[in-house]
């Protein structure tokens, strides 16, 4: 499913909204998540999952081909942990 299909599915359930409004709603939600993460905030959505940011410190790496040392600078990595309910739904009937 891509974003336009998500928008279409939601628009179908909400005939009183224009598809363009639904598009704005989906984008507002995703934008809010990204801006929270870029402030270093966590986004916790019960049943769905939680987005957080982890810091990966600077390190000295090696070019595997040449063996040459390269410095890799510090960076931040977004991380998603699946919520309990989604995890259980993914594995239903397999316990």
């Amino acid at each position: 499913m891509i974003k336009s299909e998500l928008i279409e599915r939601i628009a179908q359930q909400n005939p009183h909204l224009y598809q363009r409004d639904v598009e704005h709603i989906v984008n507002a939600i995703l934008e809010e998540i990204v801006s929270a993460l870029s402030r270093g905030d966590r986004v916790e959505l019960r049943g769905f999952g939680a987005f957080s940011v982890k810091n990966r410190p600077a390190r000295t790496g090696r070019n595997p081909r040449t063996g040459e040392q390269v410095s890799v600078s510090e960076k931040y990595i977004p991380f998603f942990k699946t919520g309990k309910e989604m995890r259980e739904r993914l594995n239903e009937g397999e316990e």
């Binding site: 499913m1 891509i2 974003k3 998500l6 599915r9 939601i10 359930q13 909400n14 409004d21 704005h24 709603i25 989906v26 507002a28 939600i29 995703l30 934008e31 809010e32 998540i33 990204v34 801006s35 929270a36 993460l37 870029s38 402030r39 270093g40 905030d41 966590r42 986004v43 916790e44 959505l45 019960r46 049943g47 769905f48 999952g49 987005f51 957080s52 940011v53 982890k54 810091n55 990966r56 410190p57 960076k75 931040y76 990595i77 977004p78 991380f79 998603f80 699946t82 989604m86 995890r87 739904r89 993914l90 594995n91 397999e94």
Partner: protein
């Protein structure tokens, strides 16, 4: 800045501010969007949201794990897991946002 936790209520607030729907309807829309994404993932569908990232379902086979406390071997049954792959745009925005004002976030263990 940083270290706060954003919830559904904050997402609903963002929809309310930008779209001018009622607060109740904004909250309902947030719920519906999360539900649709969740349903697609549970069906094993990959969910690709451009400029955000994609959710992919992976099948993990049976493997033998260990209880870290007791050292006992325990079988970890085959299971399905969701993996989130952030888009380059998301990674870039996070790194730009935190470059100037580092937030107290967890440092990744090696």
């Amino acid at each position: 800045m940083g270290g706060k936790t954003i919830t559904r209520a904050d997402l609903a607030e963002a929809v309310y501010r930008r779209l001018g729907l009622s607060r109740t309807e904004s909250a309902d829309m947030v719920e519906m969007v999360l539900q649709e994404i969740c349903d697609a993932i549970v069906e094993g569908d990959t969910v690709k949201l451009s400029s955000f990232g994609s959710f992919v379902v992976r099948d993990k086979g049976l493997r033998v794990g260990r209880n870290p406390k007791t050292g006992h071997e325990v079988p970890i049954p085959p299971r399905r897991v969701t993996v989130f792959k952030p888009s380059n745009i998301m990674k870039q925005r996070i790194n730009e946002g935190l470059a100037d004002a580092p937030a107290p976030v967890e440092t990744e263990a090696d």
